[in-house]
């Protein structure tokens, strides 16, 4: 249905309703496309759309301008219904230079809208990315709706009386773009202007320049009748509540703070900067007023060592890292497991091995988290499914660490760490209880006595008279903790440590299944593949397939009802952004012939590729045939 609307200039234009739109902004790292994307996301959220975002950064901070590896992108999916991913293929693509065009054009949907800053399509820039002819002129973009706009010139012209240098004025072109797309999607301008004023509160000159650039873009679209039609995505039916848009890293940080507050203990983060985990450190360093200490350690080992030291003293000890850092923390994790102190290690996974693809996502640390320590050293492992889910997972990780006196590994990944979605704010007093009880009774205290239900040993902190005791990595006698090399005791302690972790299964809620309780296939996932799997299975169900989706948040121990659940389906399919690490665990634990769909491209699954591959497996076709 198409209606006529009235623009601010009084002209009529066509407004076409849409259910969902995927838009991607791409430019040089320095072009400010992340900011444009984030701001456009805020507009969509406030308009009541459901949203999911996926920023995609290059590894270099400022790669040489105009090169492919310097391209930074931000994708937003906004919709009038529930969305689970940032979208497979953009229907709108905004590119600021030839490199951004070259890197992104293959993803744009047929007949998609392509907005291009023509000013940057100089001979030199074209050469840099090996365009022999100017793609804006040679007809190669004919299958898209191409809008060629001299964005840089128009921006600087709009600001020419402000006394800005060309460089400063040029930098505002991202707000010009924001103005263009804000018009295109019927967004009110006030919200963005308020944001600009707030963001550049202390720099009124910049605020004014960005406001002008934004309005110039908006008015340009309006007055030139640049676009034949504009689009409107109505608000989505979203559960009532208060929301904010949140990235996984911010949600992780807040989950930790909330847990420490509920526990009534200070939070201590020992961390060494590493991509893509550093934002958790940045975030937490702001919350000193809530008894949060952030300690930027000299290395990854010192990060975890300091957190263990703080835990010994009674704080909620946390360390955050990414794969290479988890490698380095292995020995200290073993110590924490042996001395049975509460600790949370968050691994924001990235593609490996070695330095790998530091800014790209992967789920390839699962087996490292499970087994990456010498000796028998089992640890609980929890994985977050989405940006907002990071909050509860971080919270739960602390809760379990304290309740069971054990280190816990929390896995998230680059996709959900940087990606964002609306998060329904929880009521703090409704969050599950976290009670910390320190040992105080000298008469009964034994360092390694155990709670009957959880097998946790008591937490006795320095400063408590009469409870002086020594912890250490050497094997200790059950009960007293005294150094012991007694063979029977070592076997007993090994089993007790394993049993304690197994008992955490009593914390896990029953598995939820989306779809039939039994049938042809169940697709099982963990971590950030939740979104694409969920959307893909929904689509397959619509097509009439007998397929269900179930998601695993607790990977060690696995949910106790998982094995039986899997038996109800003819096929078990496990998509992962690795070579099949969960699949290996499922096969080993349940003797199920699970089939993998594996992607190692540093990118999340698209819904359509999952739909194709799940169908192929269900039909008994070879996966290679549909690659």
């Amino acid at each position: 249905m198409t209606t006529a609307g009235t623009s601010t200039s009084g002209r009529t234009r066509t407004v076409t309703p849409k259910h969902d739109v995927v838009i991607r902004f791409a430019g040089d790292s320095g072009d400010g496309m992340q900011l444009t994307g984030a701001q456009f996301t805020a507009e969509a959220a406030i308009a009541g759309n459901d949203i999911a975002t996926f920023p995609d950064y290059p590894a270099e901070i400022r790669a040489p301008a105009g090169t492919i590896h310097g391209v930074s992108g931000y994708q937003l999916n906004f919709s009038d219904h529930e969305v689970f991913t940032a979208g497979d293929e953009p229907s709108v693509l905004v590119v600021m230079n030839p490199a951004a065009l070259k890197a992104n054009i293959k993803d744009l949907a047929q007949n998609g809208i392509l907005i291009v800053d023509t000013d940057s399509f100089t001979e030199q820039n074209l050469k840099k990315v090996k365009y022999e002819a100017n793609p804006l002129e040679d007809g190669s973009l004919d299958k898209y709706q191409l809008f060629k706009i001299d964005i840089t010139k128009l921006t600087t012209a709009a600001l020419n009386d402000m006394g800005l240098s060309t460089k400063e004025a040029t930098r505002c072109k991202n707000f010009f773009c924001l103005g263009l797309v804000s018009w295109l999607f019927h967004r009110p301008t006030e919200i963005t202007i308020q944001h600009i004023e707030k963001k550049f509160k202390n720099k009124p000159g910049l605020a004014e320049a960005n406001r002008r650039a934004f309005m110039a873009g908006y008015n340009y679209a309006d007055t030139t009748e640049l676009f034949a039609e504009s689009y409107e995505v109505k608000s989505a039916p979203i559960t009532a509540g208060t929301y904010r848009n949140i990235t996984g890293n911010a949600a992780t940080a807040l989950g930790f703070v909330a847990a420490a507050q509920r526990a009534g203990r200070p939070l201590f983060l020992g961390s060494y900067p590493i991509t893509p985990a550093s934002d958790v450190l940045h975030e937490l360093s702001k919350y000193k007023a809530l008894d949060v200490v952030t300690y930027q350690a000299e290395d990854e080992i010192a990060g975890i060592g300091s957190a263990i030291g703080a835990a010994f003293g009674g704080a909620i000890g946390i360390t955050t890292t990414s794969g290479p850092g988890l490698d380095l923390k292995a020995e200290a994790l073993g110590l924490a497991a042996k001395v049975e102190l509460p600790l949370v290690v968050a691994d924001i996974q990235r593609a490996g091995p070695s330095t790998g693809l530091p800014t790209k996502t992967e789920q390839s640390d699962l087996l490292l988290a499970m087994f990456g320590r010498h000796g028998e050293s089992p640890l609980p492992v929890i994985a977050a499914a989405s940006p907002a889910d990071c909050f509860m997972c971080a919270y739960t990780a602390v809760r379990i660490a304290v309740k069971y006196m054990t280190p816990v590994i929390l896995l998230t990944d680059g996709y959900i760490a940087n990606g964002s979605e609306p998060w329904k704010l929880p009521e703090v007093d409704q969050l599950p209880d976290i009670t910390v009880k320190f040992a105080t009774d000298a008469a009964t205290y034994k360092p390694y006595s155990r709670d009957e239900k959880t097998l946790a040993r008591p937490w006795a902190i320095p400063g408590t008279p009469g409870l002086e005791h020594r912890l250490g990595g050497l094997e200790g006698q059950n009960g007293s903790g005294n150094i012991s090399s007694d063979p029977d005791n070592h076997e007993l302690m090994t089993k007790l440590r394993a049993e304690k972790v197994q008992r955490i299964a009593q914390e896990i809620p029953p598995m939820r299944v989306m779809g039939p309780k039994s049938g042809d296939a169940i697709v099982v996932g963990w971590g950030s593949t939740f979104g694409p799997i969920h959307a893909a299975v929904k689509q397959l169900q619509k097509e009439g397939r007998s397929v269900a989706h179930s998601h695993i948040s607790y990977i060690n121990p696995l949910p106790s009802d998982l094995g039986d659940l899997l038996k109800n389906y003819k096929k078990v399919i496990i998509p992962e952004m690795n070579m099949g690490q969960l699949r290996m665990l499922i096969r080993a634990n349940f003797l199920v012939d699970a089939i993998g769909i594996n992607k190692m491209k540093g990118k999340p699954f698209t819904i359509s590729e999952l739909v194709t591959k799940i169908s192929a497996i269900m039909d008994g076709r070879k996966l290679e045939a549909v690659q």
Binding site: H195, A289, V293, A297, I304
Partner: protein, 339 residues
């Protein structure tokens, strides 16, 4: 350490002895150090439960098991990391680190320099026996050049570390040295270290009678030790020798040299020790036997802010000037309501 002294009951050496069997080799220098530490602890006036000993791995790192306070025998080289987290989150505790030349200067060298740089208010005792004991006799970062050991049958090609020089270079605010056998000297140094506000680094020469016996004999030899040791005293001229007839002066090249008190030279020509002067401290750190007497005592002691006091201050200021509840924090940022 400056933990408020609240010991109502006067503790004795015995209060700091644990029921664990001490497992060092008979004759090991570690026994003497343990005994000196247990002697000094009651003098601090700190309740036993407020004291924590943290160690890494190695013979020296068994230390916490034998002291009846809180203790943590951690992993190789990492004691300073645990001590840092503990002290930052619990500034009320009196934290000691026991480490060795392998633990502290080889595998844990990085952590050692950073804890000194940050000036956490802890005491670091580095037992220097110039050998790996627990792994049965390989050369260490302080072993002399050409050292023949199990892992260097043709002699070690390494140049050794100078622990005092490293501590000074790392920005330590308290640097001292003592010897296991000097039971009159060590308690004074330990007490000074404990009373210093900031990271105190104490190198203790320790004899490993199994794998490196006699490493410090030249310095500790009863007959000649007064000629071979320079006892440092703040504000006093650097005089040594059986008959107090030798001293250290600065020559025209700004280098230390030994003088004998004859031909008109006397105590007046000697350098006056100044614990706050980094140039003197560094010069002393480079004085090596047999050319020089080995300096013993406090090389350097100055005041700087400690890490944990700044960290605590930041938290207190934030609470006062920008109070925040968890509810407010969760609702911060751009929030919208769906009805």
């Amino acid at each position: 350490m400056t933990t408020e002294a609240t010991a109502a009951v006067k503790l004795t050496r015995k209060d700091f002895v644990t029921d664990q069997d001490v497992r060092w080799c008979p004759g090991c220098g570690d026994y003497a150090i343990l005994s000196q530490v247990q002697r000094v602890l009651p003098e601090l006036g700190v309740p036993r439960e407020k004291i924590v000993f943290i160690s890494g791995i190695g013979c020296s790192s068994r230390f916490p098991y034998y002291i009846n306070t809180y203790g943590f025998h951690t992993i190789h080289g990492r004691a300073p990391t645990l001590a840092s987290g503990l002290k930052i989150s619990r500034p009320d505790l009196c934290v000691w680190i026991a480490t060795g030349d392998g633990d502290g200067l080889s595998i844990g060298g990085n952590h050692l320099i950073h804890i000194l740089r940050r000036n956490l208010n802890v005491q670091i005792l580095l037992f220097n026996n110039r050998i790996y004991g627990l792994t049965k006799g390989q050369y260490s970062p302080t072993s002399e050049e050409g050292k023949i050991t199990k892992s260097t049958p043709y002699g070690s090609p390494d140049h050794p570390f100078n622990p005092i020089g490293i501590a000074l270079g790392a920005g330590a605010t308290f640097v001292a040295r003592s010897i296991d056998v000097e039971n009159q000297h060590m308690p004074g140094v330990l007490l000074r270290a404990a009373q210093h506000k900031g990271a105190s680094f104490v190198e203790v020469f320790q004899n490993c009678n199994i794998f490196n016996d006699g490493a410090f004999d030249y310095t500790t030899d009863k007959e000649n030790k007064l000629d071979r040791q320079l006892r440092l005293e703040n504000g006093k001229p650097m005089v040594f020798g059986k008959n107090n007839d030798k001293g250290i002066r600065m020559n025209s090249q700004m280098q230390a040299e030994v003088i004998e008190f004859k031909d008109g030279l006397s105590e007046k020509d000697c350098l006056i020790h100044d614990e706050t002067n980094p140039a003197i401290a560094y010069m002393l750190s480079q004085m090596v036997a047999p050319k020089f007497p080995t300096p013993m005592g406090v090389f350097f002691a100055i005041q700087k802010t400690t890490y944990e006091e700044v960290a605590t201050e930041q938290i207190n200021t934030a609470k006062k000037t920008r109070p925040l509840t968890i509810e407010q924090l969760l609702k911060s940022g751009d929030v919208w309501t769906v009805k």
